[in-house]
Symmetry: C2
Subunit: 428 residues, 2 copies
């Protein structure tokens, strides 16, 4: 088959990835980290560059109402939607050079390889840069792929209305940076044949098992809960210890219970990543503490179970403390469990097998959310994972070797071509 | 004696206190709270008003290098320093109308009463407004009385150099608002005969015991420690529960231990009022958490003991957790225990006895720091406490009844006149 003859250019892929990171969003040396918040100056600049590159490869560019960029290389069939390779170019405030970025750069390398080799595919082949995957500037991770899929609980207008810390509304920012497109952000108007995504694992499993490739079969379910603990403010010197209603002490017990419950029940993972206090006085007993619990399990039922266990623990803490503090819980966000499509899983699996052999690959469940979780709800989808050094991600020390980046890009190319051949052959 | 004939004007005192709070620093209605940060526009305005009022009563005004205002009503003796009534006009960002403010307003009412009645005292009588008692804008509580006493570990130049959140240096701000005075901020150059301070209790004891007046005999010792917990950042979805180095989970256990140790040992009070995380991402395991411990006990030895017990608990938590997190402790601030002077305690005690009778008064230890803790190191000092409703302070709901405010002012007047008579009689 064609795929076995085409080779992506590893040097070009890695050089482009590193140089564009250095140009747009790099943290100060010696850190190799990134701060490329969605729709920031840096994100606009790398988008502009990407659009120009893709145009140079003969792609048609569509930008939708959420700023998602679809760079489509035409195929020979006129009645087929594009086989997409999507991911995101935005990062956490102190993130790395691979989370999301590798997927888009690998997709560009695939387009370059097809272009250099004058490959005529049956389906159009698309690179997609999904807006605001991180949710680090405008709250709501995987925001724009969620809108596109129409399955997210936050529809277009609500997303447009979200504000960053400076109070800027997303729609205004999209317009300001020139990425408020006219294409409808809806898969029914601007659909895809299928969606492949190369991503770093962001966890330690591949490295620990000594594997090079993860064939991703599903994304675990996740839910976020905002907890607010209320106590009674008081002077730290004059309020006797008995009878204090210290919201931070209660919050500390609850946060400990989140960890202990997840560890003990082994139902999944639960994390408190953000904590905020109403008070900024060192001499005041805190009266209001807010924190967010992030719960992820392999199925939605397990998410429910773990949440129930955690809140049971909360309730018994409050009862046994009996110190006048109280709490409220609000569900803020969720991403139901996603099962990927056998056709896409097969394309990735077969390509990985060819590239590295069975010893070097495993089936995996993604423990992080990805744009593919949303696309999988409306078109066949799967993902390729490559190893993360020490399992570190969302951190300047995030690292994936050039060899693994290239391997992932090669498998992405091969999977796309395999899927295209099946379509051409009338099998899909 | 003269004191038994002079009566302060309760209506005038309370009207002036309320109207100046409403004019300068009131939080939006319906709150009766205050935000009058030191040397802010509001603080400058109330200072300007205070200076004008005191000049109208025939006082000489001195402003020192830290902006402390000394309004001195001359006495008949030319060789005596002033008997002072001091407190502060600044508040916490969300404070009340009584903490500090009552002491200064009562001092003004005393000056007005002396003026109205044409009383000629032997010693000069001074009102003192101490700068930045709260430490809420420029870090360092009781800052300017500490400099004046020369016993604080933070000398003049270091205080001038502190910055507020906007990066404004204190010396510049003092100059900008017109309160960078030329008088040396040093008790050896600008001394006082003695120092009385009326203050709200800021705790629940008077109210609980059904008393109207506390005769304050000492201020407990206090120390602050900054704790930093370090862990390893990681993705909340992809990092398995075992093996996480979650700084927030460890910090939560430490914060719980602060409370539990203070409660169990009964050595004093210990509070964590401020907590900060390096991370603001909901999907990241926190790698850096900072919090501040405020420890207060009746003696310095007990402060040391309680700190030792807390840090012993920390050490055993880290050992038993063994999760790769670690912490550092830095001592940031302290105020050693202060014992007030028998002469001043006697003046307050006798005046309180006369005003309310023995049933309505108790000896007390102050559990909050006050400017009097510093003055007591260099001149005879004592304080009068009046009740705080529900023990609440550093909070918009802080409240002391008009009757109790007036009672405190009357005792302040009587104590000052008593002390003056003893000096005149050659006893002191």
């Amino acid at each position: 088959m064609a795929s076995s003859k085409l080779k992506i250019n590893s040097g070009r892929l890695n050089d482009t990835l590193q140089s564009t990171c250095t140009s747009w969003g790099a943290l100060s040396a010696p850190s190799s980290g990134m701060c490329r918040l969605t729709l920031s100056r840096e994100d606009k600049d790398v988008r502009d560059w990407l659009v120009a590159e893709c145009k140079g490869l003969g792609c048609d560019i569509k930008v939708d109402q959420m700023g998602n960029i679809f760079a489509v290389r035409p195929g020979t069939a006129k009645d087929r939607r594009a086989i997409a390779m999507g991911s995101h170019l935005d990062t956490q405030p102190a993130g790395g050079r691979y989370d999301g970025i590798l997927g888009v750069q690998a997709a560009l390398e695939v387009l370059r390889t097809l272009h250099d080799n004058d490959v005529a595919t049956h389906c159009p082949i698309a690179l997609v840069d999904w807006t605001n995957e991180e949710g680090a500037r405008f709250p709501g991770a995987m925001m724009a792929s969620g809108v596109w899929s129409t399955k997210s609980s936050t529809p277009l207008e609500a997303c447009w209305d979200t504000q960053d810390k400076e109070g800027m509304r997303m729609k205004q920012v999209l317009e300001d940076v020139g990425y408020l497109g006219e294409t409808k952000c809806d898969y029914r108007d601007n659909g895809l044949e299928c969606h492949f995504e190369l991503h770093i694992e962001q966890g330690p499993i591949l490295e620990r098992e000594g594997k090079s490739v993860g064939v991703v079969t599903s994304v675990q379910g996740m839910k976020w809960f905002a907890v607010r603990v209320e106590g009674v403010e008081g002077h730290s010197g004059t309020t006797p210890m008995p009878g204090r209603s210290d919201a931070l002490v209660t919050a500390s017990r609850l946060i400990t219970a989140v960890r202990d419950t997840a560890l003990k029940t082994e139902l999944g993972v639960a994390t408190v990543g953000v904590i905020k206090s109403d008070t900024s006085s060192q001499a005041t007993i805190p009266a209001g503490i807010e924190f967010i619990i992030d719960i992820r399990c392999s199925t939605d039922e397990l998410v429910e179970q773990l949440a129930t266990e955690i809140f049971k623990a909360f309730s018994s803490i409050i009862t046994s403390e009996n110190n006048g503090t109280s709490y409220t819980i609000q569900r803020t966000w969720d991403l139901p469990e996603s099962r990927f499509h056998p056709r896409c899983i097969d394309a990735v699996w077969t390509s990985a097998l060819e590239a590295v052999g069975e010893d070097q690959m495993i089936d995996m469940k993604s423990r992080a959310g990805h744009d593919s979780a949303w696309t999988s709800r409306v078109c066949p989808t799967s993902m390729v994972f490559v190893p993360s050094k020490d399992g570190i991600s969302h951190n300047p020390n995030e690292y994936t070797s050039p060899e693994h980046c290239a391997l992932g890009a090669q498998i992405l190319l091969d999977a796309v071509l395999r899927y295209d051949e099946k379509v051409k052959a009338g099998e899909y």
